[in-house]
Amino acid sequence: MGSKKYTRREAIKLGAGAAFGLSAGILTPRKTLAREAKLVFWLQPNFNKTADDLLTAQTMDFAKAAGLKDSDVQILKVPGGEISKKMAAALEVGAPPDVTRVNEPNMARWVKGGHLVDMSAIVDKMRKQKGGINESIMTLATSGGKAYGAPMGLNPQAGHARMDKFEEAGYSSFPETWEEFIEAARKITKPPFYAYGMALGLTPSDSLTETMSVVWAHGGALVDEQGRPAFESDGAVAAFKLIDAMYNQHRIIPRGCVSWNNSGNNKAYQSGQIAYCVNPTSIYSSLIKDNSKYLPVTALTTPPGGPAGRHRSLYTDYYGVFKASPNPELAKGLVEHFLAPENYSQFVVEAGGRYFPVYPEMVNDPFWTSKPAFAGLKETVNTGHTLYWPGTLTPALGEVVTQTMVQKELQNVLVEGKDAARAVADVQKAMVATYKRLGEPV
């Protein structure tokens, strides 16, 4: 190694210098992140390989038309359940993708955080084609009159019901009220077969939808029209009591529901262990895919109603473009390309019923008219409201959802025998604390 001479002190200094130099080199923040790709798309798999491949192909088509080389495009497959986590990390270091699908809680969070770019032009264009878009789904993605997300798919919450079981119990149609439902359910339940696979676990999505379907029927809601926490209501107390009765007294809900993850009700329904549950149409599309024996006896219905009527709900997924993107126009172009009617109609069909089209006219396509069960959802798509009705999703409400504040208190009632009224009051207290911390009106 060279002929340069060192004293020991010098040699040691060299060693120590090298150690700290290397560590410092690793730890020093670098402002500009080297990014070779001009267009980065995080593709969230739709559990249907054809649909994923189609999105990939559409991306490459767009890139080619825009004069990009293959190496300029980076498509990463990021499972939907991991998006929040990955994005938290990516935003932290300023390296989000250019384009990805955005769900409602993330939409609220990222609009507030100022991470998304204005997409009004694309949304305006969408409003003018194929029957326009259901305006109620845009409130959530709109801030200061600008749209920060372009809707890419509707997810009507469908009551999947095994009509054969209801008919056996003497009901020719699905019960219209919760009282009637319980009556039917008690006849249907013969352990280990249960009538109601009610998701009640501590995961944010399915379990809150199920709970709110009971709360709404009794006149409760998460927030009021001004978006202030409004969970504390007689309706919510009645709903908690009703769920408690279904779980502990009538025992029409499997005990294990409180620890289910989001696939719990899917598995139970698809394997013929329950007669009813609320879920996006993914259960139904799996039945189609597997050509299940339960497909012909399954109806997609609206959850039972109560004093406050029967409620249909849906949620929306959007495409979002990130401000950190070096080429926002390119990224917006990709979104526009995905949502152009000819590309989009192909995608929703390939996704096999996983999403309802955002353009009302597309529901007249043969794919949707060939399955009578889908007819029951058209109304949901056109008139349904969000989980956050009559208010809208804000970052504070998003946290209420992700921290499963409602479900935790409901579990206290079901498992620990906590008084329903106190549990509801405690949900409200937790909500108010969150709203105050985030500076939202209470």
């Binding site: 190694m1 060279g2 002929s3 340069k4 001479k5 060192y6 004293t7 020991r8 002190r9 040699a11 040691i12 060299l14 060693g15 120590a16 090298a18 150690a19 700290f20 290397l22 560590s23 690793i26 730890l27 929040s84 986590k85 994005m87 938290a88 990390a89 935003l91 932290e92 300023g94 989000p96 969070r109 955080g113 991470h115 352990p191 280990p192 501590l202 995961t203 944010p204 499997p254 005990r255 294990g256 529901c257 409180v258 620890s259 993850n261 139970a268 394997s271 262990q273 946290e399 992700t402 921290q403 935790k408 579990q411 206290n412 079901l414 498992v415 620990e416 405690d426 937790a430 911390r437």
Partner: protein, 312 residues
């Protein structure tokens, strides 16, 4: 650490040599060179992140936005949260029992495997298998064993007539935490078995022979020779395993995510929920920072006491 090589040909500190000669012959230079990779790794992936985490815990910080220092506000919010006490209690309960049960089963397995028996190698391999199964996979596997309708446990109990109803192991308040602990025990026991077996084999045979001559029975030998000789292994194994066990979110996250009613929620998973699911990095880090001294206190208490006993 008493054996350090003498320096037969130590160069004078002032003597000038080529770098290579330094490396070859000067122990300090050589030590620096040898420890360089380890130092770089430790600074960049352990020490620096640790202080970074401390700093974040004092901020209100949402991922992607700059943090704002708020002093101990995150800690105050935590201590006021109604579930926090329960989560701390659960963590201690879960860690204590998981470690204790692994310890007992591991010791039993090691003692049995240390007995002369044909095909011992086969048994040793079998008892080792759970360590080869990644914890995530083991948790999924057990989730399927516990399944209310299609799981093995209920099927077995029903068919053996030990129960006349299916039990939702992960949903009943009496069984949920134990079901979680069982998975941790299943997956982690081989670590104890291996260490304890190594410890047993390191005990000099002469000690037992001498005891036998003195007329000491098996039980006496166990208490007076085996246990004292194993103190060091016990300490190390329990210390390492406590860290593994108490900081692993995997089993709880996959089996219950805290259900029912937060009865299985533990601190690391609680932190993960806050920091990752809700993007609140500040308070999420605070949970871990609260947890860290708990762990350190436990480890110091354990090592002190065990090492003192060992010395005495």
């Amino acid at each position: 650490m008493s054996q350090v090589l003498p320096e037969p040909d130590a160069p004078q500190a002032t003597e000038s040599l080529s770098l290579w000669e330094h490396i070859k012959n000067d122990r300090r230079t050589l030590a620096f060179v040898f420890l360089l990779p380890t130092t770089v790794v430790l600074i960049s992936v352990v020490i620096y992140p640790f202080f970074f985490a401390l700093l974040i815990s004092l901020q209100v910080k949402v991922a992607g936005s700059p943090g704002k220092f708020v002093g101990f506000a995150n800690y105050l919010e935590l201590f006021r949260a109604s579930e926090f006490g329960r989560v701390v209690y659960n963590t201690v309960f879960y860690t204590f029992w998981a470690v204790a049960i692994k310890f007992v089963i591991g010791l039993a397995a090691a003692l049995v495997l240390n007995q002369p028996r044909r095909f011992n190698n086969v048994y040793r391999t079998i008892l080792f298998v759970p360590w080869a199964v990644p914890t995530v996979i083991a948790s999924l596997n057990w989730l399927w064993v516990y399944d209310e309708f299609n799981g093995m446990l209920n099927t077995l109990l029903l068919s053996l007539g030990l129960s006349d109803n299916v039990i939702a192991w992960l949903a009943e308040p009496e069984t949920a935490m134990w079901a979680v602990i069982a998975v941790v025990v299943w997956n982690g026991t081989p670590f104890y078995t291996m260490h304890f077996l190594a410890g047993l084999q390191a005990i000099p045979r002469e000690l037992y022979e001498a005891a036998e001559i003195d007329g000491a029975g098996h039980v006496a030998q166990f208490w007076h020779i085996t246990i004292p000789s194993m103190m060091h292994v016990f300490t190390i194994t329990v210390m390492l395993s406590t860290v593994f066990t108490s900081t692993s979110i995997v089993v709880v996250n996959i089996l219950t995510n805290g259900a029912p009613a937060n009865l299985t929620q533990i601190l690391p998973n609680y932190s993960y929920g806050l920091a990752i699911e809700s993007g609140r990095l500040g308070i999420g880090s605070a949970v871990n920072v609260v947890f860290f001294p708990l762990l350190v206190i436990f480890i110091i208490a354990l090592t002190r006491r065990m090492l003192r006993r060992e010395a005495g």
